[in-house]
């Protein structure tokens, strides 16, 4: 691990194990996009300022442009490709489409991951809480109002579906 030559890096991305040969100074962003073809993770500023490259590491948002692939080993990584299961969109993704929350779409993958980690912890966030949760995610199309709408709509639907299930089961 001490030379600048390539090293073996084993990553767990969306539940799958990938092994690549990469230089120790390669970022997770480069590995995901350029070696694993997981291009849902976007590159924006590449300096930590926009969060377009955000992925989840053990469920918590981190920036792949400032994380070495080497140091991402041993953690469960989730990218936007791992969010929909068997081609079925999550309520948040569905609400995102219906609310027109995606314009050019560049910030969308990371924004969806950010909002999803909020909804996982807080099923009924206020608009301010939603804004705080996505504070680091820059949308250059500045469609923040629709984005907050989408997260609110998804939260409402997720709560209703839980209430529905409780009603059916009792």
């Amino acid at each position: 691990m001490s030379e600048t030559e390539n090293v073996v890096v084993t990553l767990n991305v969306n539940g799958e194990t990938h092994t690549v040969l990469a230089p120790p100074y390669e970022t997770l962003l480069e590995t995901l996009r350029e070696r694993l073809d997981l291009t849902g993770t976007k590159h924006g500023c590449e300096l930590g300022e926009c969060s377009a490259c955000m992925v989840l590491m053990d469920g918590e948002p981190v920036l792949s442009c400032l994380t070495l692939s080497l140091e991402a080993q041993g953690h469960a990584l989730t990218t936007i490709e791992g969010v929909a299961k068997n081609g079925v969109l999550t309520p948040l993704q569905q609400a995102y489409i219906e609310s027109g929350a995606s314009q050019c779409g560049y910030c969308t993958p990371a924004m969806v991951l950010s909002a999803q980690t909020l909804l996982d912890k807080n099923p009924s966030p206020t608009r301010q809480e939603i804004r705080d949760a996505i504070a680091g995610n820059l949308c250059r199309c500045t469609g923040y109002v629709q984005i907050v709408d989408a997260v609110e709509l998804a939260a409402k639907r997720m709560r209703e579906s839980v209430e529905d299930r409780v009603r059916r089961e009792t």
Partner: protein
């Protein structure tokens, strides 16, 4: 894609291994979360040949209560881990309030306390692409021989831009530094030098291992930050303060520390004007003005220096009034 320049990378599991690696790799630099170092390396402000990562160093990842009522924060804890820690939430609420003002959630999930306290100084003329820097003719902190902010002088004026040092200095924090030569403990305030290039009073191979906060019952402390965007931005001014009152409401001790004014966090002696007094708005306003008079921000961060100087008085009195309430 902006890529990192090549380097050798070491991942020690213990502090002893980490300090030993320095002996073998003289120009090595430590990296914790990398949220400050990697952007600076991508902009080719610095290109260390070897990095020693502290991520796997177990000793840096604990938070403990000392027998004397102090709290020991491991330098390798991420800002999020500190913010969420039960002991910190109970005993140092001012730190829990200040942490969300630092960068963004994903950055706080990566960035550490040690990295925050050792954050590189910042300036409009250095935190730019290599092309931009070359076009303006470079500067002292880069490869040039003149400061672009104050071309007449021979020093670099880049400013101390971390949010936590002003608060932690106000709280009387001490730090522990460890190298192959041994361990030493100093007040956090003594870590800093008023020099934008050599901004830390420590050797390159000294690892900051922990921050020790003294027992602080009856201490009211807080941090206020001026920045353009509410969502996130480095401070254009930071004010940390800690006040202690006796049972009669008389101020017994007062510390006010300014960030983002010069190359080091500045402790303002004018705050002593509060000691022995019951705090009132006019008294606070007078002390805040006296502090602003001594603060001389330069034209190298967001906003004009004149506005930042005015804001020293406004933010200081706002914070002190809040703490006195």
């Amino acid at each position: 894609m902006i890529r990192l320049p090549p380097f050798r990378f070491f991942t020690p599991g213990t502090l002893t291994e980490a300090t030993r690696l320095f002996a073998e790799h003289e120009r090595a630099v430590v990296v914790s979360g990398g949220t400050d170092l990697y952007p600076n390396m991508k902009r080719l402000q610095v290109s260390p040949p070897s990095l020693i990562s502290l991520r796997g160093v177990r000793e840096l990842k604990t938070i403990q209560a000392g027998a004397d009522g102090s709290i020991h924060l491991g330098a390798g804890m991420t800002l999020t881990q500190i913010e969420r820690h039960a002991l910190v939430r109970e005993r140092v609420p001012s730190l829990v309030e200040a942490i969300p003002l630092v960068s963004t959630l994903p950055l706080r999930n990566m960035g550490t306390l040690g990295g925050n306290l050792c954050l590189d100084t910042r300036c409009h003329f250095i935190n730019q692409t290599p092309f931009w820097r070359q076009a303006v003719g470079s500067c002292l902190k880069d490869v040039g021989d003149v400061c672009r902010v104050a071309p007449g002088g021979s020093r670099c004026w880049a400013i101390a831009s971390a949010d936590l040092p002003p608060l932690l200095i106000a709280l009387g924090a001490r730090i522990r530094l460890v190298s192959e030569r041994g361990e030493r403990e100093i007040p956090l305030s003594e870590l800093y030098r008023d020099d934008g290039i050599h901004y830390l009073n420590k050797m390159q191979d000294e690892i900051l291992t922990r921050v020790i906060l003294p027992r602080n019952e009856n201490v009211r402390a807080g941090y206020l930050k001026l920045r353009r965007r509410g969502a996130f931005d480095f401070p254009s001014l930071g004010v940390g303060a800690a006040l202690q009152f006796n049972a009669d409401g008389v101020c017994e001790s007062a510390r006010v520390v300014l960030g983002a004014v010069t190359s080091k966090p500045l402790e303002m002696p004018q705050a002593q004007g509060l000691v022995g007094e019951k705090l009132s708005a006019p008294l606070i306003a007078g002390v805040a003005e006296a502090i602003a008079l001594q603060a001389r921000p330069l034209q190298l961060a967001d906003y004009t220096y004149a506005f930042r100087k005015q804001m020293v008085a406004v933010y200081t009195s706002k914070l002190l009034n809040r703490l006195a309430d």
